[in-house]
Amino acid sequence: MPHMFYTKDHEWVSVGDDGLATVGITDHAQQALGDIVFVELPEPGRNVAKGEACAVVESVKAASDVYAPLSGTVAEVNQAIVDDPAKVNGAPEGDGWFFKLRLEDPAGLTKLLDRAAYDKLLETEA
């Protein structure tokens, strides 16, 4: 089970055996957005800085940016959620991932939230 990190923008990051950081939005985020109808993903090869808006997710009602949780290069994107955006609602923290980053500085992961800290954030926002 790979270790999951979280951001206060309600994104998750998980580093696989290949060293790439997979990024998606949390279950809380997809619930808050509601039925997702459109996803726009960054071009593979694009360099993104930590905090940079690099993907867009839209529900029937509203649009929202997805930010790079850390700096790096986009290595891969999940075309399946572009073709069927409802996948993000169905499996936000699994098959509904957004993109994979080759991190500039993997040590930066430790500055993100762990599950306990993210749960605490959700409590304070509730």
């Binding site: 509601g34 649009a63 955006p85």
Partner: protein, 351 residues
Amino acid sequence: MAKTPLDALHRRLGARMVDFAGYEMPLHYAAGIMAEHQACRSAAALFDVSHMGQVEIADPASFAPLVPGDVTGLKPGRQRYTLLLNEAGGILDDLMMANLGAHFQLVLNAGRKAADVAHMRGLGLDVHPRFDRALLALQGPRAAALCPEAAHLKFMDAATLEIGGIACGVTRSGYTGEDGFEIGCAGEAGETLAELLLARGAAPAGLGARDSLRLEAGLCLYGNDIDESTDPVSAGLTFALSKKRLAAGDFIGAAAVNKILAEGPAERLVGIRLEGRAPARAGTEIRAHNGEAAGRVTSGLFSPTLGAPIALGYVRAQQAAPGTALDLIVRGRALPGQVAPLPFVPHHYVR
């Protein structure tokens, strides 16, 4: 923040509440906007619209100078859509007016009701706000089956009748493009009436689905598509202008509206269909195919019924013909679209 008489019911049903026009209103329930939208198109949905302003007036003759429609000719048992205009022909509000026999009932937009009452009283009208009443909208192809008490009405008929022993003012109308009813009752009876209609099989639906349904039906939303800076001709609401009243020029804004009709409006509100899946939201810039500024989007979302983005927006009159190619500038990129006839989804009224 104000609450409607159905507030406790919304919370019991797990609604996600949002601030709308000073009221805490349900955006959607557990099913979500998409499912609530589809319930209305395929079966029946129940909306709480108690935030809208129900007002009684005794005398339509004194109201006539404020609106461009033939309101003195409104027969008992009938309802009509009309507009409050200012001297410049700008739209102060759009509203429904029903002749319920004993009195006339207006239904005003929530965000405008206080200003409307002040406007009417300022002109000496005898106005009785009934803002504590409940108003429910039962909408969809099964609406008449779920409300047999009102099934004898035709589109835009109005009547006072009882549903489950509750005294109601009912019109066969709505804001979704589907058949259905808007049902007013005393505030304290609102929850019982809503529970009764839900028990008969209506699905609770919130403001999110209400917005996507009305946009598919090509219906204007006050504050988005029409306001004091827009006029009925540009907004495509000429059906609400009485020829007799225009000729007589006997309502506020008549001179301005007659001038716009004679000269033709500079802009027109049109429907737009976009290619791809990305919605163009309110405020999106519209350009002609040659890159020139053409207008702006006033409402835009992803249509659940069509599975494609749709929008309403004002464009220069020469770009308003159906089929005209337009570019919508979303996040710095030009998304191709074209002017589409309204409504986007056909109406299903029972006439």
